[in-house]
Subunit: 305 residues, 2 copies
């Protein structure tokens, strides 16, 4: 699957993933009104609104980008209807040829991690049928429980040609509380990175591995060091834009082949029409603002690579 992601990145010349993390506050009034008229001010109404909002953005940007990253929490907060909107978002993006990275940060032990891997990447046997649940292409995985928690995902990656990004160094201010602790001269995030190297070597797909990692744009020195440690593992980079990471910071996340990293922007793209910079766009053309924000992000990244 990483090979396909690289092909799409190369074809579109855009190491960019758009984070589909819709909040109701981002959704234009006319969409909300429409969804609430159909379903009321209910979980169904909210879920329909974020789905329609997503579709507008996807229609406006799908030809520019290789991938999207829906953040499942934003859907889960609307309960069962929200999870339906998540699934419909995944399906819609795949129909448009986009690669879908489910930002689910799951991780548990043994059979439970296997169930999560099945839920998001695999297939489940029901009687004589084989069914898919959410069926993303990649997911993010939390490593706190150790290899037991990650291996079931790797097994499914091998079977289904899918991929994962393991949390190594997250973009948030308090990520260092545990991740930066030093054990025998190595930070915890480096110990996790060593495991990513080991797990990834079992799961190569061309030059790169189907096991990648998450390293926040907000910690460029660490990103630089980890890039060297993990030459064949893709880095999914959150934290560009709204969280403070700049394109200049990001140059070090890429390999000399111009590959090796894919940079996420969520709010900066999907809520672009709310920014001063894109104030010429109205609610009615929020998706055009998102398109312009993708073009601007691409220019910014490519100028600094």
């Amino acid at each position: 699957m990483i090979k396909r992601l690289i092909e799409e990145i190369t074809k579109k010349n855009a190491p960019i993933v758009v984070g589909l993390d819709p909040m109701l506050g981002y959704v234009p009034e006319y969409i909300l009104t429409n969804s609430f008229e159909k379903y009321g001010e209910t979980l169904e109404g909210a879920s329909d609104a974020i789905l329609q909002f997503n579709k507008g953005i996807v229609d406006a940007v799908y030809d520019l980008i290789p991938a999207v990253k829906p953040q499942v929490a934003m859907y889960e907060q609307f309960g069962v209807p929200g999870m339906k909107a998540f699934k419909e978002t995944v399906d819609y993006c795949k129909e448009k040829g986009l690669i879908v990275i489910g930002d689910v940060k799951r991780g548990d032990i043994g059979s439970t991690s296997a169930a999560y891997a099945t839920a998001h990447l695999g297939k489940v046997k029901v009687g004589g049928s084989i069914c898919s649940a959410f069926d993303e292409d990649f997911v993010t995985v939390n490593p706190y429980l150790g290899s037991d928690g990650v291996k079931p995902f790797i097994d499914v990656c091998k079977e289904e040609n899918k991929g994962i990004f393991v949390l190594v160094k997250t973009s948030n201010p308090s990520s260092g509380e545990f991740q930066d602790k030093i054990f025998e001269d190595k930070h915890l995030y480096e110990l996790v990175a060593e495991k990513v190297l080991e797990w990834g070597s079992q799961c190569m797909d061309g030059t790169y591995s189907n096991v990648g990692c998450v390293i926040g744009a907000t910690y460029p020195e660490m990103g630089k060091a980890l890039r060297k440690m993990l030459p064949h593992n893709y880095i999914l980079v959150p934290g560009y834009g709204a969280q403070g990471g700049t394109a200049k910071d990001l140059a070090a996340y890429f390999n000399e082949d111009g590959l090796g990293a894919i940079v996420n922007s969520s709010r900066g793209i999907i809520a672009a029409y709310k920014q001063e910079k894109y104030s010429k766009y109205t609610q009615a053309n929020y998706a055009d603002a998102s398109r312009q924000a993708v073009l601007d992000m691409k220019e910014d990244l490519l100028a600094n690579m």
Copy 2:
């Protein structure tokens, strides 16, 4: 909410939580046949089967136990219908007066963790309405992302009188890969425990805090040390029975007041009828086997406390 949990534990004299982690392989043939006849060999069929299976068990044991712990992964693998079965399981258990601990192991940053907290413990505003999504009483939380990831859960616990159990030392064989690393004389799990102490002190509900922790029954020496470190934080203990933890190991997880821990058993209870020990029970009375397994677990725990 911990106060209510303690009341129920005391009333039923059972520091026991039953893990509702249904696998299709546990579900008796007659239930599967019935659900597949209604919904086909589909995600809907599988989800209905696990829901009916759960209801049978809950009906048979609800008067004996204070709480259940549905493991969301087992539902998520059946997609949207599976999440519906999860929600219906939560609701059914609450109707029966049980406290529901959602074993979701969520954790992310800032607004995303807030969305997870809303999804599982809180309420979400949709237009002028206030809606609940999954509405468990407690959830399990993964600490890898640091305080940013946990605080949004604590905020919701305060607002809604709910609770969390933070993963400190998990029960699986490879949990030590990261959790046991030593930083300036302290294991990573101890550093997490120190944070649990800090977070918990903001969220007291009587003698105990609404912020508890998860410590596996399979590491009794660590359990003993952590019990002393965290006198006012409840311990949710997985790993009893099928994973190898014994009642003798568990005595050290309790405080002198006889409180402070609640022990989970999943497979050992819900698939009891498949064990040699309960071979007199048939598929038709699988739930009676579960009841007997709860009674046996209670006797075993109380004899060793």
